[in-house]
């Protein structure tokens, strides 16, 4: 019983240390396990593959830098898949803290691999405040909300935007989000303008968006780092998400063990207290 009492009252910093070790060890001693593809990720990939080549799509960077580990691999993989199909990509962000910067960094890093030129093959619209107005306003006219791109160049001076005026010229919207903006893309853009949408989101939000996949408002869904890993494998560009799955496995098993241990201790001490009283 002394053992369970000591276990129950253990300093939480020991738990932090064990978690830290559980995350680090798989990077030093990787044990690869096969990563299965969920139907939702497959549906998203298949829909994008079925798009005609060279269409105009939107890739939305609606995530904060805090969730880069989960969301950036999704955005990168999406760029690979879109550019293999020669799609013209419009990027934008509804996140004031870092969204436009991240869109800029990721697109400019991957563009040279496919010989894509800014202004001809992709454009970063940047950020405008109040996403409800932005999403709704772009349905009428993208230029009314974004008169210029992120760096201040008039949209009329950007060759790619010559034939793009509103959602009617956009064939697909890929929303990578870590917050509720995906709800507004669905309720405002998909519902009112009928543009097909897919979503990559953090694991915290993913369970909610199964409802949108079920109703057909999302063609597919990527949930968390596992979803990002699945998508990386589908586009055949394994990256940080695939590498991170080893550590993810280890920490999940650790947390399950902690929950079981904590509950065993709880019941043992409870039984002991009842016996004593």
């Amino acid at each position: 019983m002394e053992f369970w009492k000591r276990i129950e009252g253990i300093d939480r910093r020991w738990i932090y240390l064990i978690v830290g070790i559980a995350v680090i060890v798989p990077f030093l001693l990787p044990i690869p396990f096969p990563i299965s593809i969920t139907p939702e990720a497959q549906m998203l990939y298949d829909h994008i593959e079925s798009l005609p080549d060279s269409v105009t799509v939107m890739l939305v960077f609606d995530y904060y830098p805090s969730t880069i580990a989960e969301c950036e691999p999704m955005a990168r993989s999406a760029l690979h898949q879109f550019w293999r199909k020669d799609c013209k990509i419009i990027t934008l962000s509804n996140i004031p803290l870092g969204g436009p910067s991240m869109a800029e960094t990721v697109t400019r890093e991957i563009a040279p691999e496919y010989n894509k030129v800014y202004g001809e093959d992709y454009v970063n619209l940047g950020y405008k405040a109040n996403y409800v107005a932005v999403l709704s306003g772009m349905g009428t006219s993208i230029r009314s909300i974004f008169p210029t791109d992120n760096s201040g160049t008039n949209l009329d001076d950007i060759p790619m935007m010559d034939s793009v005026f509103n959602y009617e010229q956009v064939s697909f919207i890929f929303e990578v989000a870590d917050n509720a903006t995906a709800d507004y893309w669905v309720s405002i853009v998909n519902a009112q303008y009928g543009v097909p949408m897919g979503c990559g989101t953090t694991a915290v939000s993913a369970p909610k968006y199964y409802a949108f996949v079920g109703s057909g408002q999302f063609v597919g869904l990527l949930g968390g780092m596992k979803g990002a890993a699945e998508y990386e494998l589908l586009v055949e560009k394994p990256g940080n998400a695939v590498i991170g799955m080893g550590a993810q496995s280890m920490v999940h098993l650790l947390i399950i063990a902690l929950v079981i241990l904590g509950n065993i201790g709880f019941f043992m001490l409870g039984k002991h207290r009842r016996r004593v009283s």
């Binding site: 995350v23 990077f27 004031p96 405040a129 107005a133 669905v186 953090t202 991170g244 999940h252």
Partner: protein
């Protein structure tokens, strides 16, 4: 790796480890990193709004002839009246404008874009039944939606048939929240993995260039 790139990696590592040091206990390194982070985040907004709103949406279009944009500009400046108690009532007008326009968009989008499609999908799930397992799934979905909505209906006491349905709703909700908790754990752990990946691959990797 160039010298400057090594410096950048070490700057990131220093602040990352400073913030992680809070896990042991509060200390000056953590406090310094935390306050710098708060300041930089606030400063980021200034640059963003200056260029994307004031320059691109107000100044340049107004210089190009769209003089009517001075009105939203004035409304925006009136927001700052909040900081002066004697005239803080002035900020109610721009606030009311924001709330009014947003509410107008919301009424339509919430009903047309969320309620109706979700209800349609719930009713339509029985159309796609093709065998026993599909029938079971359809039943789970329909019963789950109805019992969840009834559980969250608090205008009537949960007794009798309503009480039984609400009880079923709780069981469904516990399953969903259990799944949500599992996903949340995954989400939080992923963020830690991202930082550790940087420390192990980039920061420790830079040692070979230095030592």
């Amino acid at each position: 790796m160039s010298g400057w790139e090594i410096f950048e990696v070490w700057v990131i590592a220093f602040f990352t480890l400073s913030l992680f040091s809070f896990m042991y206990k509060d200390n000056p390194f953590y406090k310094v990193a935390e306050h710098i982070f708060a300041g930089l985040s606030a400063g980021y907004y200034v640059g963003l709004i200056w260029e994307s709103v004031i320059v691109q949406q107000l100044w340049d279009p107004m210089m190009g002839g769209d003089w009517w944009l001075v009105f939203p500009g004035i409304l925006g400046f009136l927001m700052f009246a909040r900081f002066f108690p004697k005239v803080s009532w002035v900020s109610r007008t721009p606030l009311a404008f924001v709330m009014g326009v947003t509410a107008g968009i919301f009424i339509i989008s919430q009903l047309h874009g969320l309620v109706l499609p979700q209800m349609q999908a719930t009713m339509g799930v029985v159309d796609d039944v093709n065998g026993f397992w599909d029938f079971l799934l359809a039943t789970v979905v329909v019963v789950g939606v109805i019992s969840t909505l009834i559980y969250f209906y608090f205008s009537k006491e949960h007794t009798g048939a309503l009480g039984v349905t609400a009880k079923v709703g709780i069981w469904f909700i516990m399953i969903s929240f259990g799944a949500h908790f599992g996903y949340t754990v995954m989400g939080r752990v992923s963020l830690l993995i991202g930082r550790v990946q940087f420390l192990v691959e980039d920061w420790v990797g830079s040692f070979s260039y230095i030592f």
